[in-house]
Symmetry: C2
Subunit: 258 residues, 2 copies
Amino acid sequence: MKKVKIVKIGGNIVDKPEALERFLKNFHKMEGPKILIHGGGAIASKLSKDLGIEVKMHNGRRITDFETLKLVTMVYAGLINKQIVAALQQNGCMAVGLSGADGNSVPATRRAANPIDWGFVGDVEPEKINVGFLKTLLEAGCTPVFCAITHDSNGSLLNTNADTMASSLARALSAKYSTSLVYCFEKDGVLADPDDDSSVIPYIDRESYKSLLADGRIVGGMIPKLDNAFAALEYGVEEVFIKHADNLLVQKETLLKL
Amino acid sequence: MKKVKIVKIGGNIVDKPEALERFLKNFHKMEGPKILIHGGGAIASKLSKDLGIEVKMHNGRRITDFETLKLVTMVYAGLINKQIVAALQQNGCMAVGLSGADGNSVPATRRAANPIDWGFVGDVEPEKINVGFLKTLLEAGCTPVFCAITHDSNGSLLNTNADTMASSLARALSAKYSTSLVYCFEKDGVLADPDDDSSVIPYIDRESYKSLLADGRIVGGMIPKLDNAFAALEYGVEEVFIKHADNLLVQKETLLKL
Protein backbone atom coordinates (compact mmCIF):
# COMPACT_ATOMS: atom_id res chain seq x y z
CA MET A 1 0.00 0.00 0.00
CA LYS A 2 1.36 3.40 -0.99
CA LYS A 3 2.00 5.91 1.79
CA VAL A 4 0.54 9.41 2.08
CA LYS A 5 1.24 12.04 4.74
CA ILE A 6 -1.43 14.55 5.77
CA VAL A 7 0.07 17.57 7.53
CA LYS A 8 -1.92 20.24 9.33
CA ILE A 9 -0.60 23.66 10.37
CA GLY A 10 -2.54 26.04 12.56
CA GLY A 11 -3.23 29.75 12.30
CA ASN A 12 -0.38 30.57 14.71
CA ILE A 13 2.12 29.41 12.05
CA VAL A 14 0.22 31.04 9.17
CA ASP A 15 0.42 34.34 11.11
CA LYS A 16 4.24 34.33 11.36
CA PRO A 17 5.83 34.81 7.91
CA GLU A 18 9.26 33.50 9.00
CA ALA A 19 7.87 30.43 10.79
CA LEU A 20 5.66 29.72 7.77
CA GLU A 21 8.58 30.03 5.35
CA ARG A 22 10.71 27.64 7.46
CA PHE A 23 7.84 25.18 7.66
CA LEU A 24 7.10 25.28 3.89
CA LYS A 25 10.78 24.63 3.05
CA ASN A 26 10.72 21.55 5.28
CA PHE A 27 7.33 20.46 3.97
CA HIS A 28 8.71 20.61 0.42
CA LYS A 29 11.66 18.39 1.48
CA MET A 30 9.36 15.76 2.99
CA GLU A 31 9.43 12.80 0.60
CA GLY A 32 6.49 10.99 -0.96
CA PRO A 33 2.86 11.92 -1.62
CA LYS A 34 1.55 14.53 0.83
CA ILE A 35 -1.33 16.88 1.55
CA LEU A 36 -1.25 20.12 3.53
CA ILE A 37 -4.20 21.56 5.49
CA HIS A 38 -3.82 25.08 6.84
CA GLY A 39 -5.80 26.95 9.47
CA GLY A 40 -6.88 30.56 9.34
CA GLY A 41 -4.89 32.80 11.63
CA ALA A 42 -5.52 36.29 12.85
CA ILE A 43 -5.86 37.93 9.39
CA ALA A 44 -9.60 37.17 9.21
CA SER A 45 -10.24 38.77 12.63
CA LYS A 46 -8.23 41.85 11.66
CA LEU A 47 -10.10 42.21 8.35
CA SER A 48 -13.39 41.65 10.17
CA LYS A 49 -12.55 44.56 12.48
CA ASP A 50 -11.39 46.78 9.59
CA LEU A 51 -14.69 46.14 7.76
CA GLY A 52 -16.79 46.63 10.88
CA ILE A 53 -18.23 43.09 10.65
CA GLU A 54 -19.42 42.22 14.14
CA VAL A 55 -17.79 39.10 15.58
CA LYS A 56 -20.58 37.01 17.10
CA MET A 57 -19.51 34.46 19.67
CA HIS A 58 -21.22 31.78 21.71
CA ASN A 59 -19.36 30.06 24.57
CA GLY A 60 -16.09 31.38 23.15
CA ARG A 61 -16.76 30.01 19.67
CA ARG A 62 -17.36 32.11 16.59
CA ILE A 63 -20.71 32.13 14.79
CA THR A 64 -20.28 32.21 10.99
CA ASP A 65 -23.01 34.49 9.62
CA PHE A 66 -23.11 35.17 5.86
CA GLU A 67 -20.82 38.21 6.01
CA THR A 68 -18.29 36.21 8.07
CA LEU A 69 -18.52 33.29 5.62
CA LYS A 70 -17.65 35.61 2.73
CA LEU A 71 -14.78 37.04 4.74
CA VAL A 72 -13.24 33.67 5.72
CA THR A 73 -13.67 32.44 2.13
CA MET A 74 -11.69 35.46 0.92
CA VAL A 75 -8.96 35.11 3.53
CA TYR A 76 -8.61 31.31 3.83
CA ALA A 77 -9.38 30.15 0.25
CA GLY A 78 -8.00 33.30 -1.40
CA LEU A 79 -5.17 35.11 0.33
CA ILE A 80 -3.62 32.48 2.64
CA ASN A 81 -4.16 29.49 0.34
CA LYS A 82 -2.70 31.16 -2.75
CA GLN A 83 0.24 32.71 -0.86
CA ILE A 84 1.13 29.23 0.46
CA VAL A 85 0.75 27.70 -3.02
CA ALA A 86 2.97 30.40 -4.59
CA ALA A 87 5.62 29.86 -1.88
CA LEU A 88 5.57 26.07 -2.38
CA GLN A 89 5.78 26.48 -6.16
CA GLN A 90 8.82 28.73 -5.64
CA ASN A 91 10.43 25.79 -3.79
CA GLY A 92 9.57 23.49 -6.70
CA CYS A 93 6.63 21.75 -5.03
CA MET A 94 3.70 21.14 -7.42
CA ALA A 95 1.12 22.56 -4.99
CA VAL A 96 -2.57 22.80 -5.92
CA GLY A 97 -4.69 24.96 -3.60
CA LEU A 98 -8.16 23.64 -2.87
CA SER A 99 -11.26 24.22 -0.84
CA GLY A 100 -13.54 21.28 -0.11
CA ALA A 101 -15.83 22.52 -2.92
CA ASP A 102 -13.11 22.05 -5.56
CA GLY A 103 -13.48 18.65 -7.21
CA ASN A 104 -16.21 18.04 -4.61
CA SER A 105 -13.22 16.91 -2.58
CA VAL A 106 -14.66 17.48 0.90
CA PRO A 107 -18.47 17.74 1.06
CA ALA A 108 -19.92 18.72 4.43
CA THR A 109 -23.28 19.07 6.16
CA ARG A 110 -24.34 22.39 7.61
CA ARG A 111 -24.56 22.03 11.38
CA ALA A 112 -28.16 21.95 12.67
CA ALA A 113 -29.36 25.33 13.97
CA ASN A 114 -30.62 23.74 17.19
CA PRO A 115 -29.98 24.61 20.01
CA ILE A 116 -27.49 27.21 18.70
CA ASP A 117 -27.40 28.46 15.09
CA TRP A 118 -23.69 28.41 14.33
CA GLY A 119 -24.41 29.81 10.88
CA PHE A 120 -22.50 28.54 7.84
CA VAL A 121 -20.49 25.90 9.70
CA GLY A 122 -19.92 22.51 8.09
CA ASP A 123 -19.28 19.10 9.59
CA VAL A 124 -17.32 16.80 7.28
CA GLU A 125 -18.60 13.33 6.45
CA PRO A 126 -15.36 11.42 5.79
CA GLU A 127 -17.15 8.68 3.80
CA LYS A 128 -18.22 11.31 1.22
CA ILE A 129 -14.70 12.65 0.59
CA ASN A 130 -13.77 12.37 -3.11
CA VAL A 131 -10.77 10.06 -2.70
CA GLY A 132 -10.64 9.42 -6.48
CA PHE A 133 -10.03 13.10 -7.19
CA LEU A 134 -7.27 13.31 -4.57
CA LYS A 135 -5.71 10.10 -5.94
CA THR A 136 -5.67 11.66 -9.45
CA LEU A 137 -3.79 14.70 -8.12
CA LEU A 138 -1.35 12.67 -5.96
CA GLU A 139 -0.58 10.25 -8.81
CA ALA A 140 0.10 13.23 -11.10
CA GLY A 141 2.76 14.34 -8.59
CA CYS A 142 0.66 17.20 -7.20
CA THR A 143 0.45 18.26 -3.56
CA PRO A 144 -3.08 19.31 -2.56
CA VAL A 145 -3.11 22.31 -0.18
CA PHE A 146 -6.43 22.67 1.61
CA CYS A 147 -8.00 25.56 3.43
CA ALA A 148 -10.79 24.58 5.83
CA ILE A 149 -13.65 25.81 3.64
CA THR A 150 -16.08 23.11 2.46
CA HIS A 151 -19.48 23.11 0.72
CA ASP A 152 -22.91 21.56 1.23
CA SER A 153 -23.25 20.32 -2.43
CA ASN A 154 -26.25 22.63 -2.60
CA GLY A 155 -24.43 25.80 -3.63
CA SER A 156 -23.32 27.04 -0.23
CA LEU A 157 -19.79 27.23 1.12
CA LEU A 158 -19.24 26.28 4.76
CA ASN A 159 -16.62 27.13 7.39
CA THR A 160 -15.01 23.99 8.83
CA ASN A 161 -12.64 23.12 11.65
CA ALA A 162 -9.17 22.56 10.15
CA ASP A 163 -8.18 19.82 12.67
CA THR A 164 -11.31 17.83 11.81
CA MET A 165 -10.79 18.42 8.09
CA ALA A 166 -7.26 16.97 8.42
CA SER A 167 -8.39 13.89 10.39
CA SER A 168 -11.34 13.35 8.00
CA LEU A 169 -9.03 13.47 4.96
CA ALA A 170 -6.65 11.03 6.68
CA ARG A 171 -9.54 8.67 7.52
CA ALA A 172 -10.90 8.75 3.96
CA LEU A 173 -7.48 8.24 2.34
CA SER A 174 -6.66 5.29 4.60
CA ALA A 175 -8.95 3.18 2.36
CA LYS A 176 -6.39 3.50 -0.46
CA TYR A 177 -3.16 4.52 1.29
CA SER A 178 -1.13 3.79 4.39
CA THR A 179 -1.84 7.15 6.01
CA SER A 180 0.13 9.27 8.49
CA LEU A 181 -1.46 12.34 10.06
CA VAL A 182 0.83 15.09 11.37
CA TYR A 183 -0.48 17.95 13.53
CA CYS A 184 2.07 20.77 13.69
CA PHE A 185 1.81 23.41 16.38
CA GLU A 186 4.00 25.60 18.62
CA LYS A 187 5.05 22.90 21.17
CA ASP A 188 7.33 19.90 20.75
CA GLY A 189 4.46 17.48 21.38
CA VAL A 190 1.91 16.56 24.05
CA LEU A 191 3.34 17.77 27.35
CA ALA A 192 3.09 15.84 30.63
CA ASP A 193 3.45 19.20 32.39
CA PRO A 194 1.95 22.14 30.43
CA ASP A 195 4.49 24.48 32.11
CA ASP A 196 7.51 22.39 31.10
CA ASP A 197 8.19 22.41 27.34
CA SER A 198 10.69 19.57 27.76
CA SER A 199 8.09 17.17 29.25
CA VAL A 200 7.04 15.76 25.87
CA ILE A 201 5.29 12.39 26.10
CA PRO A 202 6.97 10.40 23.29
CA TYR A 203 4.25 7.76 22.83
CA ILE A 204 0.54 7.55 23.67
CA ASP A 205 -1.72 4.60 22.90
CA ARG A 206 -5.42 4.16 23.58
CA GLU A 207 -4.80 2.81 27.09
CA SER A 208 -2.29 5.44 28.18
CA TYR A 209 -4.54 8.18 26.74
CA LYS A 210 -7.34 7.00 29.07
CA SER A 211 -4.97 7.15 32.07
CA LEU A 212 -3.65 10.60 31.12
CA LEU A 213 -7.23 11.89 30.81
CA ALA A 214 -8.23 10.29 34.14
CA ASP A 215 -5.20 11.84 35.86
CA GLY A 216 -6.17 15.26 34.47
CA ARG A 217 -2.81 15.57 32.68
CA ILE A 218 -4.35 16.33 29.28
CA VAL A 219 -6.27 19.58 29.42
CA GLY A 220 -7.91 22.32 27.32
CA GLY A 221 -7.56 22.43 23.55
CA MET A 222 -5.36 19.31 23.54
CA ILE A 223 -8.38 17.09 24.37
CA PRO A 224 -10.37 17.66 21.12
CA LYS A 225 -7.09 17.40 19.14
CA LEU A 226 -6.30 14.01 20.70
CA ASP A 227 -9.92 12.84 20.45
CA ASN A 228 -9.76 13.68 16.73
CA ALA A 229 -6.46 11.83 16.42
CA PHE A 230 -7.71 8.67 18.12
CA ALA A 231 -10.92 8.75 16.07
CA ALA A 232 -8.72 8.82 12.94
CA LEU A 233 -6.68 5.85 14.24
CA GLU A 234 -9.90 3.89 14.96
CA TYR A 235 -10.88 4.40 11.32
CA GLY A 236 -7.68 3.08 9.81
CA VAL A 237 -5.11 5.89 9.96
CA GLU A 238 -1.72 4.25 10.63
CA GLU A 239 -0.15 6.78 12.99
CA VAL A 240 -0.60 10.34 14.23
CA PHE A 241 2.25 12.71 15.11
CA ILE A 242 1.90 15.85 17.22
CA LYS A 243 4.95 18.07 16.91
CA HIS A 244 6.47 21.53 16.55
CA ALA A 245 6.15 23.04 13.05
CA ASP A 246 9.94 23.58 13.05
CA ASN A 247 10.54 19.85 13.66
CA LEU A 248 8.68 18.45 10.66
CA LEU A 249 11.79 16.54 9.50
CA VAL A 250 13.10 15.78 13.03
CA GLN A 251 12.00 12.80 15.11
CA LYS A 252 11.04 14.88 18.16
CA GLU A 253 7.33 14.49 18.77
CA THR A 254 4.47 12.65 20.35
CA LEU A 255 3.54 9.54 18.40
CA LEU A 256 -0.03 8.26 18.77
CA LYS A 257 -1.03 4.71 17.88
CA LEU A 258 -3.89 2.47 18.93
CA MET B 1 -7.92 15.56 -31.91
CA LYS B 2 -10.13 15.99 -28.84
CA LYS B 3 -12.04 19.24 -28.51
CA VAL B 4 -11.91 21.66 -25.59
CA LYS B 5 -13.89 24.86 -25.08
CA ILE B 6 -12.44 27.80 -23.15
CA VAL B 7 -15.14 30.20 -21.99
CA LYS B 8 -14.50 33.63 -20.47
CA ILE B 9 -17.04 35.69 -18.54
CA GLY B 10 -16.43 39.27 -17.49
CA GLY B 11 -16.98 41.10 -14.24
CA ASN B 12 -20.32 42.48 -15.43
CA ILE B 13 -21.77 38.94 -15.31
CA VAL B 14 -20.02 38.06 -12.05
CA ASP B 15 -21.65 41.17 -10.52
CA LYS B 16 -25.23 40.10 -11.33
CA PRO B 17 -26.24 37.02 -9.29
CA GLU B 18 -29.19 36.13 -11.58
CA ALA B 19 -27.20 36.53 -14.82
CA LEU B 20 -24.38 34.48 -13.30
CA GLU B 21 -26.76 31.71 -12.20
CA ARG B 22 -28.32 31.54 -15.69
CA PHE B 23 -24.88 31.45 -17.28
CA LEU B 24 -23.55 28.71 -14.97
CA LYS B 25 -26.59 26.49 -15.66
CA ASN B 26 -25.93 26.81 -19.40
CA PHE B 27 -22.18 26.34 -18.93
CA HIS B 28 -22.88 23.10 -17.07
CA LYS B 29 -25.07 21.88 -19.97
CA MET B 30 -22.34 22.58 -22.53
CA GLU B 31 -20.98 19.20 -23.60
CA GLY B 32 -17.39 18.02 -23.67
CA PRO B 33 -14.21 19.14 -21.89
CA LYS B 34 -14.30 22.82 -20.94
CA ILE B 35 -12.55 25.50 -18.93
CA LEU B 36 -14.04 28.66 -17.44
CA ILE B 37 -12.15 31.93 -16.85
CA HIS B 38 -13.89 34.61 -14.83
CA GLY B 39 -13.16 38.30 -14.43
CA GLY B 40 -13.34 40.32 -11.27
CA GLY B 41 -16.32 42.59 -11.10
CA ALA B 42 -17.11 45.49 -8.83
CA ILE B 43 -16.71 43.63 -5.52
CA ALA B 44 -12.97 44.33 -5.36
CA SER B 45 -13.51 48.08 -5.89
CA LYS B 46 -16.22 48.15 -3.20
CA LEU B 47 -14.01 46.27 -0.73
CA SER B 48 -11.10 48.54 -1.61
CA LYS B 49 -13.25 51.56 -0.70
CA ASP B 50 -14.54 49.91 2.51
CA LEU B 51 -10.95 49.21 3.61
CA GLY B 52 -9.72 52.67 2.63
CA ILE B 53 -7.18 51.25 0.16
CA GLU B 54 -6.38 54.02 -2.27
CA VAL B 55 -7.13 53.13 -5.89
CA LYS B 56 -4.11 54.26 -7.93
CA MET B 57 -4.74 54.75 -11.62
CA HIS B 58 -2.63 55.66 -14.63
CA ASN B 59 -4.31 56.52 -17.96
CA GLY B 60 -7.53 54.95 -16.69
CA ARG B 61 -5.85 51.68 -15.71
CA ARG B 62 -5.42 50.41 -12.18
CA ILE B 63 -2.00 50.07 -10.57
CA THR B 64 -1.74 46.90 -8.45
CA ASP B 65 0.28 47.80 -5.35
CA PHE B 66 0.83 45.12 -2.67
CA GLU B 67 -2.34 45.97 -0.71
CA THR B 68 -4.39 45.83 -3.93
CA LEU B 69 -2.76 42.50 -4.88
CA LYS B 70 -3.83 41.00 -1.53
CA LEU B 71 -7.33 42.37 -2.03
CA VAL B 72 -7.81 41.01 -5.56
CA THR B 73 -6.36 37.65 -4.47
CA MET B 74 -8.98 37.50 -1.71
CA VAL B 75 -11.85 38.53 -3.95
CA TYR B 76 -10.99 36.79 -7.24
CA ALA B 77 -9.24 33.59 -6.05
CA GLY B 78 -11.26 33.34 -2.82
CA LEU B 79 -14.79 34.69 -2.83
CA ILE B 80 -15.77 34.76 -6.52
CA ASN B 81 -13.89 31.62 -7.57
CA LYS B 82 -15.23 29.46 -4.74
CA GLN B 83 -18.79 30.76 -5.08
CA ILE B 84 -18.72 29.84 -8.79
CA VAL B 85 -17.23 26.41 -8.00
CA ALA B 86 -19.89 25.72 -5.34
CA ALA B 87 -22.66 26.77 -7.77
CA LEU B 88 -21.29 24.53 -10.54
CA GLN B 89 -20.92 21.61 -8.12
CA GLN B 90 -24.57 22.13 -7.13
CA ASN B 91 -25.43 21.65 -10.83
CA GLY B 92 -23.35 18.45 -10.91
CA CYS B 93 -20.35 19.93 -12.73
CA MET B 94 -17.00 18.69 -11.35
CA ALA B 95 -15.52 22.18 -11.11
CA VAL B 96 -12.01 22.77 -9.73
CA GLY B 97 -11.18 26.39 -8.90
CA LEU B 98 -7.66 27.49 -9.76
CA SER B 99 -5.34 30.44 -9.89
CA GLY B 100 -2.38 30.34 -12.25
CA ALA B 101 -0.18 29.43 -9.26
CA ASP B 102 -2.07 26.17 -8.65
CA GLY B 103 -0.31 23.30 -10.40
CA ASN B 104 1.97 26.02 -11.86
CA SER B 105 -0.79 26.11 -14.46
CA VAL B 106 -0.28 29.69 -15.68
CA PRO B 107 3.14 31.20 -14.89
CA ALA B 108 3.56 34.88 -15.71
CA THR B 109 6.24 37.55 -15.79
CA ARG B 110 5.90 40.70 -13.75
CA ARG B 111 5.54 43.63 -16.12
CA ALA B 112 8.66 45.83 -16.25
CA ALA B 113 8.41 48.95 -14.06
CA ASN B 114 9.50 51.17 -16.92
CA PRO B 115 8.09 53.67 -17.93
CA ILE B 116 5.20 53.04 -15.53
CA ASP B 117 5.36 50.73 -12.51
CA TRP B 118 2.07 48.85 -12.78
CA GLY B 119 2.89 46.99 -9.57
CA PHE B 120 2.09 43.29 -9.25
CA VAL B 121 0.78 42.83 -12.77
CA GLY B 122 1.65 39.70 -14.72
CA ASP B 123 1.92 39.00 -18.42
CA VAL B 124 1.28 35.38 -19.33
CA GLU B 125 3.77 33.44 -21.44
CA PRO B 126 1.51 30.90 -23.19
CA GLU B 127 4.42 28.54 -23.97
CA LYS B 128 5.01 28.10 -20.20
CA ILE B 129 1.42 27.09 -19.40
CA ASN B 130 1.31 23.65 -17.72
CA VAL B 131 -0.78 21.85 -20.35
CA GLY B 132 -0.01 18.46 -18.77
CA PHE B 133 -1.67 19.48 -15.50
CA LEU B 134 -4.76 20.78 -17.31
CA LYS B 135 -4.90 17.59 -19.39
CA THR B 136 -4.83 15.50 -16.19
CA LEU B 137 -7.80 17.44 -14.82
CA LEU B 138 -9.78 17.38 -18.09
CA GLU B 139 -9.19 13.65 -18.59
CA ALA B 140 -10.40 13.03 -15.03
CA GLY B 141 -13.69 14.71 -16.01
CA CYS B 142 -12.94 17.93 -14.13
CA THR B 143 -13.74 21.46 -15.28
CA PRO B 144 -11.00 23.95 -14.34
CA VAL B 145 -12.38 27.34 -13.25
CA PHE B 146 -9.73 30.08 -13.38
CA CYS B 147 -9.57 33.47 -11.78
CA ALA B 148 -7.08 35.85 -13.41
CA ILE B 149 -4.44 35.63 -10.68
CA THR B 150 -1.09 34.16 -11.76
CA HIS B 151 2.37 33.88 -10.18
CA ASP B 152 5.97 34.64 -11.09
CA SER B 153 7.35 31.21 -9.98
CA ASN B 154 9.40 33.18 -7.47
CA GLY B 155 6.85 33.31 -4.67
CA SER B 156 4.80 36.30 -5.77
CA LEU B 157 1.21 36.31 -7.01
CA LEU B 158 0.37 38.62 -9.93
CA ASN B 159 -2.81 40.29 -11.17
CA THR B 160 -3.51 39.39 -14.81
CA ASN B 161 -5.93 40.46 -17.53
CA ALA B 162 -8.69 37.82 -17.77
CA ASP B 163 -9.16 38.18 -21.55
CA THR B 164 -5.45 37.55 -22.13
CA MET B 165 -5.47 34.67 -19.65
CA ALA B 166 -8.31 33.05 -21.64
CA SER B 167 -6.60 33.50 -25.02
CA SER B 168 -3.26 32.29 -23.61
CA LEU B 169 -4.90 29.14 -22.21
CA ALA B 170 -6.61 28.54 -25.57
CA ARG B 171 -3.29 29.02 -27.41
CA ALA B 172 -1.42 26.63 -25.12
CA LEU B 173 -4.13 23.94 -25.23
CA SER B 174 -4.31 24.06 -29.04
CA ALA B 175 -1.09 21.97 -29.07
CA LYS B 176 -3.07 18.99 -27.67
CA TYR B 177 -6.71 19.85 -28.42
CA SER B 178 -8.89 21.33 -31.12
CA THR B 179 -9.65 24.50 -29.20
CA SER B 180 -12.61 26.91 -29.23
CA LEU B 181 -12.44 30.19 -27.35
CA VAL B 182 -15.71 31.85 -26.28
CA TYR B 183 -15.83 35.42 -24.95
CA CYS B 184 -19.16 36.08 -23.21
CA PHE B 185 -20.26 39.63 -22.52
CA GLU B 186 -23.39 41.79 -22.42
CA LYS B 187 -23.93 42.19 -26.20
CA ASP B 188 -24.99 39.62 -28.81
CA GLY B 189 -21.64 39.90 -30.60
CA VAL B 190 -19.45 42.44 -32.38
CA LEU B 191 -21.76 45.25 -33.51
CA ALA B 192 -21.48 47.06 -36.86
CA ASP B 193 -23.20 49.99 -35.18
CA PRO B 194 -22.44 50.34 -31.44
CA ASP B 195 -25.84 52.00 -30.94
CA ASP B 196 -27.79 49.18 -32.62
CA ASP B 197 -27.77 45.94 -30.63
CA SER B 198 -29.24 44.06 -33.59
CA SER B 199 -26.30 44.94 -35.89
CA VAL B 200 -24.25 41.85 -34.96
CA ILE B 201 -21.56 40.97 -37.51
CA PRO B 202 -21.95 37.17 -37.85
CA TYR B 203 -18.48 36.42 -39.24
CA ILE B 204 -15.14 38.20 -39.20
CA ASP B 205 -11.93 36.89 -40.72
CA ARG B 206 -8.46 38.44 -40.78
CA GLU B 207 -9.21 40.40 -43.95
CA SER B 208 -12.61 41.75 -42.93
CA TYR B 209 -11.16 42.66 -39.48
CA LYS B 210 -8.60 44.88 -41.21
CA SER B 211 -11.36 46.62 -43.22
CA LEU B 212 -13.56 47.08 -40.14
CA LEU B 213 -10.61 48.63 -38.28
CA ALA B 214 -9.75 50.87 -41.26
CA ASP B 215 -13.38 52.03 -41.50
CA GLY B 216 -13.35 52.89 -37.78
CA ARG B 217 -16.25 50.51 -37.13
CA ILE B 218 -14.47 48.63 -34.36
CA VAL B 219 -13.78 50.95 -31.46
CA GLY B 220 -12.82 51.16 -27.79
CA GLY B 221 -12.52 48.02 -25.65
CA MET B 222 -13.51 45.78 -28.56
CA ILE B 223 -10.14 46.37 -30.27
CA PRO B 224 -7.90 44.65 -27.63
CA LYS B 225 -10.52 41.86 -27.33
CA LEU B 226 -10.41 41.19 -31.07
CA ASP B 227 -6.62 41.61 -31.22
CA ASN B 228 -6.39 38.97 -28.49
CA ALA B 229 -8.78 36.74 -30.41
CA PHE B 230 -6.88 36.97 -33.70
CA ALA B 231 -3.57 36.42 -31.89
CA ALA B 232 -5.08 33.19 -30.48
CA LEU B 233 -6.20 32.12 -33.98
CA GLU B 234 -2.72 32.81 -35.38
CA TYR B 235 -1.32 30.44 -32.75
CA GLY B 236 -3.58 27.50 -33.55
CA VAL B 237 -6.91 28.17 -31.84
CA GLU B 238 -9.63 26.79 -34.15
CA GLU B 239 -12.34 29.42 -33.73
CA VAL B 240 -13.33 32.30 -31.46
CA PHE B 241 -16.91 33.24 -30.56
CA ILE B 242 -18.00 36.59 -29.13
CA LYS B 243 -21.51 36.42 -27.73
CA HIS B 244 -23.99 37.30 -24.99
CA ALA B 245 -23.57 35.32 -21.74
CA ASP B 246 -27.26 34.33 -21.97
CA ASN B 247 -26.69 32.81 -25.45
CA LEU B 248 -23.98 30.32 -24.56
CA LEU B 249 -26.03 27.42 -26.01
CA VAL B 250 -27.61 29.46 -28.83
CA GLN B 251 -25.98 30.07 -32.22
CA LYS B 252 -26.31 33.87 -32.07
CA GLU B 253 -22.85 35.39 -32.07
CA THR B 254 -19.87 36.71 -33.92
CA LEU B 255 -17.63 33.92 -35.18
CA LEU B 256 -13.97 34.77 -35.77
CA LYS B 257 -11.72 32.65 -37.97
CA LEU B 258 -8.50 33.34 -39.84
